[in-house]
Point group: C2
Chain length 307, copies 2
Amino acid sequence: MSMFEESMKEKVKEIEKIISSFLPEETGYQKIVVEAMNYSILAGGKRLRPMLMNETYRLFGGRGDEIQPFMAAIEMIHTYSLVHDDLPAMDNDEYRRGRKTTHVVYGEANAVLAGDALLNYAFETALKAFEISEDLEPEKINAMREISVARALKVLAEKAGIYGMIGGQTADIAAEEKTSVTIEELTFIHKYKTAALVEASMMIGAILAGASLNEVRKIERCAYNVGLAFQIQDDILDVTGNQEELGKPIGSDEKNHKQTYVTLKGLEEARMEVERLSQEAMSILEGFSGDSSFLCELIHSLIYRTK
Amino acid sequence: MSMFEESMKEKVKEIEKIISSFLPEETGYQKIVVEAMNYSILAGGKRLRPMLMNETYRLFGGRGDEIQPFMAAIEMIHTYSLVHDDLPAMDNDEYRRGRKTTHVVYGEANAVLAGDALLNYAFETALKAFEISEDLEPEKINAMREISVARALKVLAEKAGIYGMIGGQTADIAAEEKTSVTIEELTFIHKYKTAALVEASMMIGAILAGASLNEVRKIERCAYNVGLAFQIQDDILDVTGNQEELGKPIGSDEKNHKQTYVTLKGLEEARMEVERLSQEAMSILEGFSGDSSFLCELIHSLIYRTK
C-alpha cells in the first residue's frame, strides 16, 4: 500500500467516526426508520464528499469543529439520494455495494420514509453547527462564524435541490425515456446529478474556513471540473474497465442504450476531456497559498481510477 | 357568511399569494419536477399551518416579513408528506381533495422526486429569512433577527423529522400491521404525525416575533393540544359525520379495522377529551397580553368543525 493509500484509509476511518457520532439512536416507536437510515448510511462507500469538504476546509486554514456536522450532512444527502434512486419506481436495484438495498430489507414504505428522514436529518445535523442556543445572548455570538454557517447552509440546500442534484435526477429520468440526448442535456445531467454535491462539499469547506467570495467561486469551478471528470471516467470505465476490478458488469451502458459522453463523443475525446478538466481543477488548487498536495493527489486518484 | 368566515377567506387568499411568491419557476431541464411540486402545493387545502404561524406571530407583536418564507416552507413540508403518503408503496391514494394525486398525474418516479424537492425547497425557502448575504459585513447584521431565524430553522427541522412528523408516520405504518394498538402508541402517532407540524407552526410564529423561551414552551403546549384535538375530532367525524358534508365516506376507520381514539375509548370520552384539550389551548392563549380573539376563534372552528 502506498503512503497515499494508507493516508486515505486513515482518513476514511476518521470520517466514519464523525458520521457515526451524528447518527440518531435506534429507539422509540420510530426505531425501524432509524435502523433503515443507519443501515443505508453505514453501507460503506468512498466517503468522497465529506473527504473533499474536510480537505478543502484544511486547505483554507480551517481548524474548528463546525465542519463536522456538515461532513455528516452531505453524506446523509448523498445516501438518501441512493435510497430513493434504488426504489422500484426509480432504478429498481436490489443490490448496492454487495448489500441488499434499503427497500429490499425494510420494505418500500420504510425506504421512502428513511430517505425523507435522511434528507431532513441532514438539515437537522448541519444546523448543529450554529452555536446559537436558546438562551445565548446576542452580544455573545461569534458573528463571523454564524454568518459562515448560514452561508454554508444555503449552499447545501441549493446544491441538493432542483437547482442541483434533484434537478439532475429529474433530467436523467426524462432522458431515459428519449431515444437520443444532446451533449448539452448530458452535460446538464452530469453537472447537476453528480457535480452539484461535489461543488457543495468543497464550497462548504472553503466557506467555513473563512475563504473569500472570490476563492469560493474558484473552488466551485474546481469542484465542477472534478465532478464532471469523475462522471466521464465512469462512462470510460464502463467501456474499458475490468469487470472483476470494477465489481460490476462492463458494457452495461451500451446494452441499456444509455447515451454517455463516450457514446456521444467517442473514447478518444472523452479521455482528452477528463485530462483537460482535471488539469484545470488542479491548477486552480495550486493557485492557493495553502498546501494542496493531498487534495491534488486525491483528485488525481479519483479521476484516473480503474475501479 | 359570518364575519369570521369572511375574515378566514381573506386570510387564506393572502396566504396563497405568499406561498405562490416563493414557488420555483417551471423552466429548464428540471421543469417536470417543478410542475409536479407546484401542482401538489396549489391543490388547495385549509392552509392551517401557515395561518396558525402568522396569527401566533401577530399575537406576539411580530410585524416583519421574515415570517413569510417560513409560512411557505411549512406548507411545502406538509405538502411533500401528502405526496409521499399517497404513493402506491404507502397509502396508494389516487385522489385527494377531488384531484388526481401527484403520482397519478406525473408518474411514480417524478412523485418521489417532487416530494424530495418540496422538502429540500422548504429549507431553501426558510433560509431566505436570513438577511445574511454573501457580502454582508459582520457588524451590519441584526443579531437578534438572525438568532431568531436560526432557532426557527431548528424547530422546523426537528418537528418535521424522526422526532416529529416522520417519526409519527413510521409508527403509523408499523401500527397498521398490528391487530391492536395501545392508547400510548396512538397518542404517540397523533402527537408526532399530526401535532408536530402544528407545534412547529405556532412555535416559529412566536420565536420570530421575539417571544421568550417560556412563552415558546407555552405555545408548544397549546399547539400540541390543538393538534391532538383536531385529530380526535377527525376520528369522531368518521363515526358521526355527514358523508356529503365531509366529502368522504364515513365509517371507513371501522371498515379498515383502524384503531382510533374513538374505537379505543368510545365516543363519549373522545368528545370530552376534545373539550378538555381545546379549553386548555384557549386558556393558554388568553394568558398572553396580546389579542388572541381571532386565534381562539380559529382553534374553536377547527376543533368543533363538522367537515
